[in-house]
Subunit: 376 residues, 2 copies
Amino acid sequence: MNRRVHIDLGERSYDVVVAPNLLGDCDAALAPLVRARRIALVTDPWVGDNLLPAFAPTLDALSPGWTRFTVSGGEAAKSFAGIEALLKDMLDAGIDRGCVLLAFGGGVVGDVGGFAAALLMRGIDLIQVPTTLMAQVDSSVGGKNAINTAHGKNLVGTFLQPKIVLADVSLLASLPEIELRSGYGEVVKCALLRGEREFAWLEDNLERILARDPAALVEVVAMGVETKARIVSEDELDRGRRALVNLGHTFAHAFETQAGFGEFPHGYAVATGLACAADLSARLGALAPATVERVTEHLRRAGLPTRLDELAGDGEWRAAAIERSMLHDKKTVAGRTHFVLLEDLGKPCVSDAVPPAALRETLLWAGAVDGGEAGA
Amino acid sequence: MNRRVHIDLGERSYDVVVAPNLLGDCDAALAPLVRARRIALVTDPWVGDNLLPAFAPTLDALSPGWTRFTVSGGEAAKSFAGIEALLKDMLDAGIDRGCVLLAFGGGVVGDVGGFAAALLMRGIDLIQVPTTLMAQVDSSVGGKNAINTAHGKNLVGTFLQPKIVLADVSLLASLPEIELRSGYGEVVKCALLRGEREFAWLEDNLERILARDPAALVEVVAMGVETKARIVSEDELDRGRRALVNLGHTFAHAFETQAGFGEFPHGYAVATGLACAADLSARLGALAPATVERVTEHLRRAGLPTRLDELAGDGEWRAAAIERSMLHDKKTVAGRTHFVLLEDLGKPCVSDAVPPAALRETLLWAGAVDGGEAGA
C-alpha cells in the first residue's frame, strides 16, 4: 500500500513517500541522498524519547556520526530565540554545508528545522520525516518554514524544498486523539479543494480513518500531499494559485491571533475557518447552502468545531477585532484581505473584494459578537 | 559613461546600473519595478543624514508612502537582535508582501536589508542602492545576505536576488578614505580573477581611482560587477565555481575571526589574504614568484596591508589559531578547507588538498608566529 507522490519543481523536485512501517525500511530511499554524510537530526523531546529509538539503527547505518538536536515542543520554539539557539547548537557541534538536516517531528520541528537548514551557511540539504497527521498531510510538503512574531503566526520564514519527505503512517498510532483530529481539519480542506469524489470518500471512510486503519491513512495522506503537490508545482513561491491551499486559513489565522497562539490546535481553527469560508461563499451566492450544511456536518462528525464557541468557549469573540487581525495576514496586500472561496466542491477561487457586510454576517453566524468598529 | 551589467539568472535575472549622478535620475529605472508600491527604505544613521536628502525627492515621486527604517551602522547590526528589531519595526509599520525593500547603504545595510527582505513573510521584493565602493563592486551583487554569530562572519543567511542594483559612483565622493581603500581590496581581487588586461589597467590608473575620478570609478565598479556576474550566473547557490570569488577570503575570514570583527576594514583583511593566496600559490608551484611580487607591490601602492603586522600591529598572530579558524569557514566541508589559488592572472583554481606545511609557511611569511598545535 506504498504511495510515492512526485513534487515537480524542476531542479528542486522531490518525492513524498507514504507508507506504513516506513522508517524501519527506508535505507534504500535515504542512502543515495545522505551518501554517508553526517546527519543533524532535529526533533522534540517527546519524539526523541518515543519514536527515535526505533529509527536510530537506520540512522547508525546511514550516517555514523549523526547527531541529535532537540527543540522544545510547542509553538514557543518557533521564535527568534528558538532558531538562534538551534543554530548555535549546530555550529557548536561543527555542522557544516556537507551535512544533512533531518527534521523528525511534527509541524513545529519541521518549521524550525527547515528554517535552520535554510539559514545555516545560507542553506544545507533538508530531509523531512513528519510524525503527525498535520505535518504528513500538509506542512512537510511545499518547502515553507517559519517562526512567529508578536504580530502573528509564520510572518518570518523562507522557502527551502526538502530532498525527500518520508511519511510513515505507522507513526500516527501513538498520536494523541486531539492531534489526529487537528490534522484531519487539513485533510477536509484538501478534499474540498479536490472535489466530490475525494470528499465523498472521506464521508464514507471517516470511521476507518479515525480508527487509524493504515490503508485508510495512506489514502488520506497521499490525497493531501497530491493536492498540495498540484498547487505548489504551479506556484512554488506563493504568489498566485498557491493561495488556494489557504482555504479556511484567513479565518483560522485571525482566530489564532485573537485567542493567542496555542489556545487550541491549528486544525481546529482550520475546521472553523472552513465552515466560515463555506458560509461566506454561500452568502456571496457562490456555493449552494446545502453544500455548506454538508461540509459542517462532516466536520462535526469528525469531532471538529465549526463555531467559535466550540473552538474556545471562554471569552468573547468580537467581530471587529477578528477583521482587524485579517489585515495583518500575509495574504493581505495593500490593505485588501484575500479570501479563498468555494463555488463548489473542487472549485476554489480567490477574492480580494469580499463586501465587509458579508464578512461580518459570517462572523456573527460563527458566533462572534457585533463589537462595532471600536471592538477589541 | 553609464554602464549596465546584466546578471543572468533565468527568471531571477536583473541589471546593475553603474553611473555618476544616478540617484537624481533613476525614475525611469525604478518606476517599472516599484509601480507606485510602498517602499521600505533601510539605511544607517550616517547615510540617512547625509545621502538620503538628495534621494528623497525621487522616492517621494515614486512611492508616496515610503518609510525610512534605520539600522545601526557597523557589524553589530548583523546579528539576530538586529534582524529581529528591523523585522519588528517593519511589521509595526504595516510593511507587507506588496511593498518593496530598498537597501540604501554599505555592506551592513545591504546584508541586513537583504536578509529582512528574504525573511519578511517569506520574501518581498528587494532593490539594492549601495553607497560604498565595497558594496558597489561586490556585496550588493549576487543575492547573498547574512548575519554573524559567535562562530564567525556570515554563517547565517539566505540568498535573495535583488530586482535591480543602482551603483551611483558619485556617492563615493564622501566615502572615508579608509573605506575607499577597503573596497579597492575587492577590486584587486576581481582583476586577479579576470587577467592581465584588467590588472594592468588598475596598475596604470591607480591614481585616478584613488582621486575618485568618476569615469575611472565607473570602469572599476563595472569591472568588479562583471567579474561577479560571470561567476554568479554559473553558480547562483555557491556550490562550485562561485567559490572563485572567495580568492583571498579563506585567509581574510580567519584573520577577522582571530582579531574580532571590526578591528580593521574587511577589504584590508582581503588585501592581506590576496597576498597570502598568491604566496601559497607560488609555494605550491602554481604561480610565478614575480607575479606574487607584482600583486603585493600593487596592494602596497594602494595603501593596503599585505602582512599581518600591517593589518593589526598590536597582539600576536598565532599560526595554529588561524588554521583552526579556517576549519569553521563556510567553504570547509567534512574538515577540508577550500583554498582558491592562482595559476596566473585570470587563472584561479580551487584546492581542498593544500599541504599543512605549505599553509604554515605562508602564514609565517605573512608575519604569524609559529604557535604550534597548542597555540591559541
